[in-house]
């Protein structure tokens, strides 16, 4: 290394030093400690006691664990695909040249900005069994609405509904991608007499496929970790018959209510592995379908 190179190295390290400290304190240490705790019995107050793989084995027989995992998959299995489709349709609509387009865009985006606690309050009120707006609207259509948040069958659909309402972020990401599709592709297709559906299916979808993939991966990561709305809806309790006890909520309960820090850490690592596996599966199964214009 020349003197200049060495000087640059030190200056570079000096600039990134906030990141280095953060990396050591907020990533390296917690990740290592989390692995260790996951093999321990640990209640924070006394020293961790090594128990080997007990926490992981406990999970296999913990019915609540499996229920929370099932609830989370149920939520993700509906919220994720529905969210991807609805936001794509919304983005296509908002990409048309219509009058008042900025206003429409702002309106579609607005719900995703509302702080999740406030949004949960609003939805609790809308889904209220007796006076909620939704059931009154259904009544008007001569449908008897369910007790959304009190009936174990309907708690998860309630949360799915709310998550679909707040899909504005995904819409904006799609919209940005749609605006990048070259006009010339559509124009030449129109000369060949292609219909709107053909253009959508054979130009729009392939051109924005990398962004669909991106939203899919982000969606997997996000929907498996869903916490705040489920916690607020049922004041941390998981709802009737634990029907809305999601993985992250159960993990939180283990850590901060039952003080089973070791078990909580083991659950966190299992969640990480599930996310990795699903991301990998999604990547593999969509690899051939994604079209990168740059290549």
């Amino acid at each position: 290394m020349t003197r200049g190179e060495r000087r640059n190295l030190w200056i570079g390290l000096a600039f990134i030093s906030p990141w280095i400290v953060g990396f050591l304190a907020f990533t390296v240490y917690p990740v290592a400690a989390s692995v260790y705790y996951s093999f321990c019995d640990y209640d924070v107050l006394t020293k961790p006691i090594w128990v080997g793989t007990l926490n992981y084995r406990d999970m296999l027989t913990d019915r609540v664990f499996w229920q929370s995992l099932g609830n989370t998959f149920y939520f993700a299995a509906f919220a994720l695909p529905l969210g991807l489709i609805i936001s794509l349709l919304a983005a296509v609509l908002l990409n048309q040249s219509v009058r008042g387009r900025p206003v429409f865009r702002a309106i579609f985006f607005l719900p995703s900005l509302i702080p999740v606690v406030a949004a949960s309050m609003v939805w609790l009120w809308i889904l209220n069994g007796s006076f909620g707006l939704l059931n009154q609207a259904l009544e008007w259509l001569h449908i008897r609405g369910p007790q959304w948040v009190a009936d174990p069958k309907w708690t998860k659909p309630s949360l799915i509904l709310m998550s679909l309402w707040a899909c504005g972020n995904t819409v904006v990401i799609y919209l940005a991608a749609l605006q990048d599709v070259p006009r010339s592709l559509y124009e030449s297709a129109e000369i060949d007499g292609a219909s709107a559906w053909v253009k959508f299916r054979h130009i729009t979808i392939p051109m924005i496929s990398p962004v669909i993939y991106f939203n899919l991966i982000m969606g997997i990561i996000g929907s498996l970790q869903v916490f705040a709305q489920a916690y607020v809806f049922f004041s941390g309790g998981g709802g009737p018959n634990r029907s809305a006890l999601f993985y992250a909520v159960y993990l939180f309960q283990n850590a901060f209510e039952y003080r089973q820090m070791g078990y909580a850490c083991a659950m966190a690592w299992v969640l990480f592995l599930i996310i990795l596996a699903l991301t990998w599966a999604a990547t593999r199964s969509t690899r051939k379908l994604i079209f990168y214009a740059g290549e």
């Binding site: 600039f15 989390s34 406030a118 309050m121 609790l124 962004v211 939203n215 916690y231 850490c265």
Partner: protein, 289 residues
């Protein structure tokens, strides 16, 4: 055919707008009603007062109960404290995030040093670790430091450059021409001065995005305050609102909706004033993320 097509687009856009707006309008409407009108069947959209007219006929006059807001604030007891705490945390985390991420991003983009790209890859890899994995050890660390029940765990971390923001700013820094720094270096300008006086002013839009998103994140954050705050006087608005709801058990919906409106309104206003930065920011995070 073309006209029909356009008509359909407008119809769908209007339908979608109504669906997305109704919950918000319902929140505001409920927040302005007296309690008996919150439970009327069919629903009341516009709060009214019944007034006996000159001819003895009872007429409904539009009458929003603005006093609900004041009453909701009083019912929440510590509302001014919640607001103060939230603003305090927003201010500190925005300053911390913008400063530290800009510094780190500069080191990762505008200075050539050996191993830079490998270290940057490491930084990117940290984004994969989900929050629950580090949640417990972080809690234990802050407990060891005696910080549980204080606001420190909620802002100290922001001064240590999160990978995501570093990544965003780095993209932006790299798009600026190299000559800019070279010319300044030849003039004998120190690296920190180049950063502070030349590069940073040019990056204002990107810094705005990072700051804005951090503000929103801190304002909306629920899990962090839930884990670390133990005293009611330290609560943030998000935690305070949830606490209020779980305490009163959900009967006084008009106050709850007034309070929710108060928590949501600043974010909505912020959005309308910074719409352009916002949308640019999201597409920036989306495409290049």
């Amino acid at each position: 055919m073309r006209r029909l097509h356009r008509l359909l687009i407008y119809a769908l856009l209007i339908l979608g707008s109504i669906t997305f707006l109704i919950p918000l309008l319902w929140m505001i409407s409920t927040g302005l009603k007296p309690i008996e009108q919150t439970m009327s069947l069919p629903p009341t959209w516009i709060p009214y007062r019944e007034v006996v007219g000159a001819d003895g006929v009872v007429v409904k006059k539009i009458a929003p109960r603005w006093e609900n807001f004041a009453k909701a604030i009083r019912a929440m007891k510590q509302f001014p404290r919640y607001l103060k705490n939230t603003l305090f945390l927003c201010l500190l985390t925005v300053i911390g995030t913008v400063l530290s991420s800009a510094l780190a991003a500069y080191g990762f983009s505008r200075i050539e040093w050996r191993g830079r790209n490998r270290v940057f890859l490491l930084a990117l890899a940290t984004m994969m670790v989900p929050f629950p994995v580090t949640m417990v050890p972080m809690y234990c660390l802050f407990r060891w430091l005696g910080w549980i029940g204080t606001m420190k765990p909620l802002w100290v971390g922001s001064f240590f450059a999160g990978a995501f923001n570093v990544f965003l700013l780095r993209q932006f820094f790299m798009s600026l021409p190299k000559d800019l720094s070279e010319a300044a270096r030849i003039d004998g300008c120190g690296e920190f001065r180049i950063f502070w006086q030349i590069i940073l002013p040019l990056c204002r839009p990107a810094l705005m995005v990072v700051g804005l998103f951090q503000f929103m994140f801190t304002w909306n954050d629920f899990m962090g305050p839930l884990i670390y705050l133990t005293k009611q006087e330290d609560f943030t608005l998000a935690l305070g609102l949830q606490f209020f709801q779980s305490q009163q058990g959900g009967t006084e919906w008009h106050y709850l909706m007034a309070a929710s409106t108060l928590v949501a309104l600043p974010i909505i206003l912020l959005f309308f004033f910074t719409q352009k930065t916002f949308v640019e920011g999201i597409s920036m995070t989306g495409i290049k993320g």
